[in-house]
Amino acid sequence: MKVSLFLTCLADVVYPASVGKSTVEILERLGCEVDFPKKQTCCGQPAFNSGFHRESRDVAKHMIKTFEEAEYVVSPSGSCVTMLHEYSKLFSEDPEWQERAKALSDKSFELTQFIVDVLKVDDVGAEFHGNVTYHTSCHMTRLLKVKEAPMKLLENVKGLKFTELPNKQQCCGFGGTFSVKMVPISEQMVNEKVEHIEETDAEVLIGADLGCLMNIGGRIERQGKPIKVMHIAEVLNSQA
């Protein structure tokens, strides 16, 4: 199966190689042929959510073209895949582009969703030792409606001691530009999230969206708490 990786701008620009590398390695281990279209940029969500729809249309067109030849597009971010699914709404008055947008959204999947729903794999053979908890990102669960897949995969990771996060459904306070536009509110939200993470005694917080992880992890760092933040791809790529 041929898979094109949509890395997302945070994994591309802000984070070191690890998340993308893990994604590639897991998919290859599961028998996929992975390529990385180098022209890819960002999904356009920062502009879209800020109301700059004309601008996000330009970004969307670029991404549609970049992935036009792909058989499947897989991304380590539920939020960015949700944005790809929004593209067709941007072109409600442009049937040709709407068609192309729809074609992209039909073949785009979040990583865990792709592994469980398309590859039909629940156990990726990973091993990871430690007390962990998992943050359910809002866009991934509520908009993309991917709830079970990450849990199924984590359940089968050897050595993992999992505790459910209290109030797990509650947003961490990232919200893209919200995190810098509404700093005082975002701060309260992420503080509450960190408190709940501490209640689980987890050493590692796992998440499937780098936006949330950057927010929660950044706050944990600032508070000097001994909790590590990891992307689910990094955990699923861990071997004994």
Binding site: P16, A17, C42, R222
Partner: protein
């Protein structure tokens, strides 16, 4: 009171909210309680999503045919001796209401809970006339006693107060000398209100739903106060937003159930009242005169626009009860009698952006509201739509933001530019990653980010470098 409440700028109100420990504790507890109960009663139904679909359909159908159903409702009220008045705005509504009160030479007025009367500042208009207007909903009564403290929630208006604060208000204003036990407090309020019920010449109510096929006004309460307010006084005035219509009792049945479950997690509240016209011969109670004031006040402007779905709202507050922003800032921060997600959508529609331009941004777009809404209003999408209008039409987005977004879009649709940006990012991020004593550094958004958080430290290669090396190495590493 009007839609707008409170003084100060948005961020000042937010700071005040965040620093109000009592309020925050009360809000957290209320959210947990109300959301918990809601989840329980909706899960019980088994097919909650089907009920949501159906309710959305009912509301959409009604709004699409609002003229027709309003006409039918009016005709049926009139047929049964009631009077109907269409008020285009708050001033017209108040003029009519005060004229009825004047004609009756009424001095004492008892009210049941109604958001639309707050919206049009009806109490103030009646008080100006010299009337004594008493709120009979317990929460509203508490706020009224407490020097007209504004509501912070559309179903539980005094949600921001704890029982000790309520006890103190009762003590200061009404010489209450008992404990802060909720039962004792409620008992005291009941005793105090009794004489107001008995002396009132006019009863004023809101309206949860108005049934077109029979000209009936229905009220949903847990205290029974609406029943008292509509059976004791000789004259009744019901004030309703023009979108409160349901076609028949069948839809009423469905929507009342959705409202009760979503608002307070009950299958039905203790009192569901249906009022049709005036007292007839042989009836023991009921008003002799019945007026319905149908208020537009900006609603018809929303019809037919991309915001029409906001009018589907049945004011259950489920979106407020799950909102993580409301949770931390409380209702007063919104500066509107309609707080939370629905408030952030509705307030700028009713009042314009000038005083409320932050509201569409006071959301992470986490979509908890959209998921909770029993009539499926896509609240988070409407917030984005507001942002789009602000950017494209109102000219209220800042120059800096415009520039940043245009720059972003240019880079994100031109890979060669994006590459320059991205290859220089890690060292730049390394420079600002830690902020400085929690004060942050770096330009604009980066400073704001590092005010409260660190940025990830750039360690090791970027993905692109790894990928390219690997390709050069002839494939898999």
């Amino acid at each position: 009171m009007g839609v707008k409440i409170g003084e100060g700028k948005f961020f000042e109100r937010v700071d005040k909210g965040i620093n109000d420990k009592f309020m925050r504790k009360a809000v957290k507890e209320a959210q947990t309680r109300l959301e918990g109960r809601k989840t329980q009663t909706t899960e019980e139904m088994g097919n909650w999503e089907d009920w949501r679909d159906l309710s959305e359909e009912i509301r959409q159908h009604t709004l699409e045919n609002l003229d027709y159903y309003l006409d039918q409702f009016v005709e049926n009220v009139a047929k049964q001796g009631g009077h109907v008045f269409f008020a285009e705005d708050a001033a017209e509504a108040n003029e009519y209401i005060t004229s009825v009160v004047k004609k009756k030479e009424a001095k004492n007025i008892i009210k049941s809970k109604s958001m639309v009367t707050e919206e049009i500042s009806m109490n103030e208009a009646l008080e100006e006339l010299g009337c004594n207007v008493v709120e009979s909903d317990l929460g509203e009564w508490i706020l009224q006693l407490d020097d007209h403290d504004p509501p912070s929630h559309i179903v539980v208006p005094a949600l921001h107060k704890n029982k000790e604060q309520i006890r103190d208000t009762f003590r200061d204003k009404r010489k209450y000398d008992k404990s802060s036990d909720p039962n004792e407090l409620a008992q005291f309020a009941r005793e105090q209100l009794r004489k107001d019920f008995l002396s009132a010449e006019v009863g004023i109510t809101g309206c949860n739903f108005a049934v077109a096929e029979s000209g009936t006004v229905s009220l949903v309460t847990n205290e029974g106060n609406a029943r008292m307010a509509t059976t004791l006084p000789k004259t009744q005035i019901t004030v309703m937003g023009m979108e409160r219509i349901v076609p028949t009792w069948k839809e009423l049945d469905i929507l009342v159930s959705m409202l009760c479950r979503s608002a307070v997690g009950q299958k039905l509240t203790s009192y569901i009242t249906g009022l049709t016209a005036t007292k007839e011969e042989g009836d023991v109670d009921g008003p002799e005169e019945f007026h319905v004031v149908i208020v537009d006040n900006g609603r018809s402007k929303i019809l037919g626009t991309q915001f029409q779905s906001a009018l589907q709202c049945i004011r259950c507050a489920a979106c407020i009860n799950v909102c993580p922003v409301y949770r931390h800032v409380g209702g007063h921060s919104y500066g509107s009698i309609y707080p939370g997600p629905i408030g952030a959508v509705l307030t700028p529609l009713l009042e314009g952006y000038d005083d409320h331009k932050e509201l569409p941004y006071a959301s992470t777009l986490c979509a908890a509201c959209t998921d909770a809404c029993p009539v499926k209003i896509p609240l988070h999408e409407l917030l984005v739509e507001h942002r789009r209008v602000i950017v494209e039409q109102s000219g209220k987005s800042s120059f800096g933001e415009k520039l940043a977004m245009k720059g972003y879009a240019y880079a994100a649709s031109n890979p060669s530019v994006y590459k320059i940006g991205s290859s220089s990012a890690p060292s730049f991020i390394g420079h600002v990653a830690k902020g400085e004593d929690g004060h942050g550094k770096g330009p604009g958004p980066v400073k704001l980010w590092t005010d409260i958080r660190d940025l990830p430290e750039p360690t090791g290669d970027t993905f692109r470098k790894w990928y390219v090396n690997r390709e050069k190495g002839g494939g898999k590493s």
